[in-house]
Symmetry: C2
Subunit: 226 residues, 2 copies
Amino acid sequence: MINFEALFKVTYGLYIVSSGDKTRANGFISNTVFQVTSEPPAFAACCNKLNFTTEFIQKQGLFSISVLGKDTPTEIFTNFGYKSGREIDKMAGMDIRYGESGLPIVLNSSIAFLECKVMQTIDLGTHLLFIGMLLHADLLDVTKDPMTYQYYREVKKGFSPKNAPTYIDKEKLLTNVKDASLKQYKCPVCGYIYDEADETKRFKDLADDWLCPLCGCEKEEFFEIK
Amino acid sequence: MINFEALFKVTYGLYIVSSGDKTRANGFISNTVFQVTSEPPAFAACCNKLNFTTEFIQKQGLFSISVLGKDTPTEIFTNFGYKSGREIDKMAGMDIRYGESGLPIVLNSSIAFLECKVMQTIDLGTHLLFIGMLLHADLLDVTKDPMTYQYYREVKKGFSPKNAPTYIDKEKLLTNVKDASLKQYKCPVCGYIYDEADETKRFKDLADDWLCPLCGCEKEEFFEIK
């Protein structure tokens, strides 16, 4: 038996993983970035094969990680999560530094960054796991804590920091009182909840190419939870 | 340039990764557990090749993950972090459930657990990265938040939750006032700080086989930071 609520007890941060160069670059919101060895210092980044950024990383063999701070505004998630770099230039209008490796580093809301050179690429089916040796790293803002995935989920949905699963049930009850016909749809990949009570559109009325704002999962993958 | 303080902005939870069966089992404290794919749900766990538990996982092709709650007492970290299963039975006296896969699941201070079957083993030099398909998962305590690595480091050392790097500097200054001869030694792997001001022994007087209480790194790898 798999209780998917248990998966949300695994802790992650939130990052913008980027690649490319001054002529063309792209980045996406990721929560799966983690150190794997210390000698040499190496980091893993897990990227969906369908992500545009994945093509840049494969081509260039390099990726950067911007660690997002706790006060990262919704616009950053909208730009790097909602949109596709195949249609727009996500880096346009952003505060970008080109690192020692030539990689773009998104500075907006970032408290630290890392630049990595791909040493291994592991095929995990839907995703590629890039293992990157750390080339450069530095702090950008020492006054702020990193944003955690738990905080993001809770703040985005206005949940209490305590006891998320029970609190979701209370939310559902409250929503029921407000409008019994409003529904919630959950992303099977990252657990993001599209709650019609908080939105201006019914889920069914969203465009067919609508993607999960957090992980980019397709609309048709979402399932109704209420 | 690598500023190692930047690495501490990457967020992790804390876990006991276990393997074995009813006749013999072992587990260790890990912070590198993360989901890598959703179809099928799969998790990665990064294990030092020298860890005794790694041998169990390689032999059995299975591992369990206990997600530690925020109020996990020091005794749990002492048992699963300080000690080696080659010398003691870490599971003795612990509250263990044997899961559907036969795996031991440490229940002490755990808020959720996952059982995984190894699908791929990736050699990362000093570590093995096990990619495990999720077999079973459930919540154990819905009232508690997971412990984060940041929280652990801060609470263990009594640091303020804000702005760890600057706060360390203040600590150093305070310690200087107390006893200028007391020193701090830092683990190059996980950043754990052995602060003589908080301990009963000078670092040099610790046994040669003393290991980092958090990640098991050897004493001789530590470097003086003050």
